[in-house]
Each structure stands twice: as C-alpha cells, then as structure tokens.
C-alpha cells in the first residue's frame, strides 16, 4: 500500500490496560508525541513502529500522538494502522 494522503485527524484505540490511544493528523514531517508509564524505555521501539507504518502507507509525515497503557508492539501497530486508515478516508487509492 502506498501513496495515501492524510485528510483529517483520526483516532483509534482506548485507554484500557494493554491498549493505547493513537491520534493521527496531517503534517509535512513526522512529529511524534509518545506518552505512558514506560515511554522512556520504549521510545526508540515506538518510533521505529511509527516509521515503519508511515513507510508502509507511503506517508512522508504526520503528527502522531500515542498514549501507551502497556500495549504490545502488535497492538500499537494495529491502532496506528487503523488511525492512519481512518485519517485517509476518502483519499485517492482507497
């Protein structure tokens, strides 16, 4: 999948334990805000997940906020992909 365009702000996820709440907005470059009890420990890991998802969807940038409630890498990826997909709704290539 490539060449998607973020059209609006969208969120996915919850603040329940083992989940995360991800919000994605259109932006020229990547701006990541990562919060959570262990955000310092997992900062690099989470940045890599975000970069991989943006690359997968062919996105050059995005403003992304993640509130991590102890989510696995799989969960962060799933929430991020859902939020990106929702933010792209109506874009070419959908």
């Amino acid at each position: 999948m490539s060449g998607l365009i973020l059209l609006n702000t969208a969120s996915a996820g919850t603040l329940e334990s083992s989940d995360c709440l991800v919000t994605v907005s259109p932006a020229e470059k990547l701006k990541l805000e990562y919060k959570g009890a262990n955000s310092e420990i997992f900062a690099e890991r989470t940045k890599a997940i975000v970069e991989n998802v943006l690359k997968k969807y062919g996105l050059g940038g995005a403003e992304i906020s993640i509130q991590d409630q102890g989510a696995l890498e799989i969960t962060i990826k799933a929430r991020l992909e859902t939020a990106v997909s929702r933010a792209c709704k109506g874009a070419a290539g959908q």
Partner: protein
C-alpha cells in the same frame, strides 16, 4: 483433527484479552469481529485480529475468527484481511443452507489463490442459528470439504423461533440433536452454543454433560472461568477409558494379524466403536490421564 473441547470467544477489539489467550487454558479461541464489536470499531477489530494473527505466538492454541455475516457490509473486508493471516478457520454466521457456505468457500478460495495459499487451508466453521439452518444442517455440514465444523448459535436460534432460551434447554433439544446427527453424518466437528450465566457453574456443568451425551465435540465459552467446567464434562471416566485402551489394543493386534473382526470382553467390536475408543484416548491425553487397560 486434535480434540477441541472448548472454544473461548474473545472480542477482536480487546488486545489485553487477546494477548492473554494462551494462559486461559482453552483448546481454541474464537476472535470475534461480529457481535462483540461495536459497528464503529469494526475496522479497528479487523486490523487488531489481523496483526495478532500475523505476529503473535499463540503457542498451541487453535485460533479461529468469527467474521461478520455475509448480509453485512463488513463480510468481504473481513475475509480479505483475515484469510491471508491464516487463522485455522473462520466462523461464518447465519448459514441457512449450503449456498451460504459455498458462497463463502468461493470467496475464501479466491483470496487463497491471490495470496499463494494452498486452496482449502483456512477451514469454515458454519454457524447454524436459524430454524431453516437447523433443517438444512446436513447439507450445510457437507456443502464442501472446507467445512471442518458446524456450530449451534442458541441465542439467535431461540429468537428466530420466538421462544425463550432457558437453562433447562428443552427448546434447543431438537436443534441440538439434529445438528449433532448432521455433523456426525458429514464427518465434521460440532460445537454447542454458549452458557450465558457466567456465575452458574453448576448449570454449565449440567448442560455440558448433556451435550457431551448428545455427541457434541466441543462447546463455546464466553468467559475464561467456564473453560475448566467444560473440560470437566468431556473427561472420559476411568472405566470407559480402560475399555477404550483394550479396544484399541485389540484392534491393533487384529490388524497386525490380518483379522477383520475383533472381540473385547466377549463382545464383538466394529469400526465405529474403535474410532470412538481412539477419540477417547486422544481426549485422555489432553487430561494427562494414564493409559492402562487393566
């Protein structure tokens, strides 16, 4: 097929529950994209289940997915995203006849071919939850080789019949019997509906013993606390197990000696009895029971 006594429903949009699935002790799980997920979260649940299927180690759990019904806007997207992630099976809701199964089979085959997956790899568990579905149970179970199991959906069935679902379950007696016979005739597994009262374990055990007696191969659970009770009901008793050991030993001895007919404890034993004995021994292995014929 490995004996599968319990099938635990887990909402597809609940990562906390999905990640803990291997420790609940169920033989299989059913990641639910249908009733357990709000309309607004269908896309999120689908993505969550796909990501877990791709990257999570579920150990030796059998992982199946209940997709949304073919009459919904979500069905095609569910299949397109889930099938390439290779669940053991997808549960198709509201199968009213063989055409519903064949339609799903065709769509799954197209997705398998497009993703270089061997055709037939992802099996179908056809859910029977309408009166017409019950009447067509054998035709549903034998619709195509992809069908691995049929399952009874008691809540929707009783609603369709305009009756109340009770703990005694007499309103489901005919449907259960019909579905079990259909499954056995078609050579597929058969799972019973859920027990809704998670606090009533005595009632659950009573119902489980009843459905084991009818011939069900497994039962769905809606809470991890129900799993132990379900397994308790499927446990072979010691006397039955010892006899099964003697039957299997006698069958193997007869086979080695080129004999077609065997007798155990002075009674003739034929192939279906041997097959049931083998199944009991497989079940016994799940409980770690020692095999001894004496």
């Amino acid at each position: 097929m490995k004996p599968c006594r319990s099938m635990l429903y887990i909402p597809g949009d609940s990562p906390g529950m999905i990640q803990h699935a291997p420790v609940f002790g169920a033989d299989s799980i059913l990641l639910d994209l249908e009733d357990a997920v709000a309309i607004a979260e269908k896309d999120a649940a689908r993505k969550m289940v796909a990501c877990f299927l791709q990257d999570y180690d579920f150990k030796d759990l059998i992982v199946t997915v209940r997709v949304n019904g073919a009459d919904t806007e979500f069905f095609d997207d569910d299949l397109s995203e889930i099938i390439p992630c290779l669940p053991a099976a997808v549960r198709i809701p509201k199968c009213n006849g063989p055409a519903d199964v064949l339609s799903a089979d065709k769509k799954i085959e197209e997705i398998e071919r497009a993703n270089s997956i061997p055709v037939g790899k992802v099996r179908i568990h056809a859910m029977i939850e309408t009166a017409v579905g019950v009447e067509n149970a054998y035709h549903i179970a034998s619709a195509c080789p992809r069908v691995e199991a049929i399952t009874l959906g008691g809540q929707d069935l009783t609603a369709d019949m305009g009756v109340k679902k009770t703990k005694e379950g007499w309103e489901l007696f005919y449907a259960r019997s019909r579905v079990v016979v259909a499954a056995r005739a078609a050579g597929v597994a058969v799972y019973d509906t859920v027990w809704a009262d998670i606090n009533d374990k005595e009632g659950l055990l009573r119902e489980c013993r009843s459905i084991v007696g009818l011939g069900f191969t497994g039962k769905a659970a809606i809470h991890p606390d129900q799993i132990e009770t379900i397994h308790q009901a499927f446990m072979p008793d010691e006397k039955e197990l010892k006899k099964a050991v003697r039957i299997v030993e006698a069958a193997e001895k007869a086979k080695n000696e080129g004999k077609g007919v065997i007798s155990v404890d002075g009674k003739m034993v034929d192939a279906p009895v041997v097959a049931r004995a083998r199944h009991l021994l497989e079940l016994a292995d799940l409980y770690g029971l020692e095999r001894s014929g004496s």
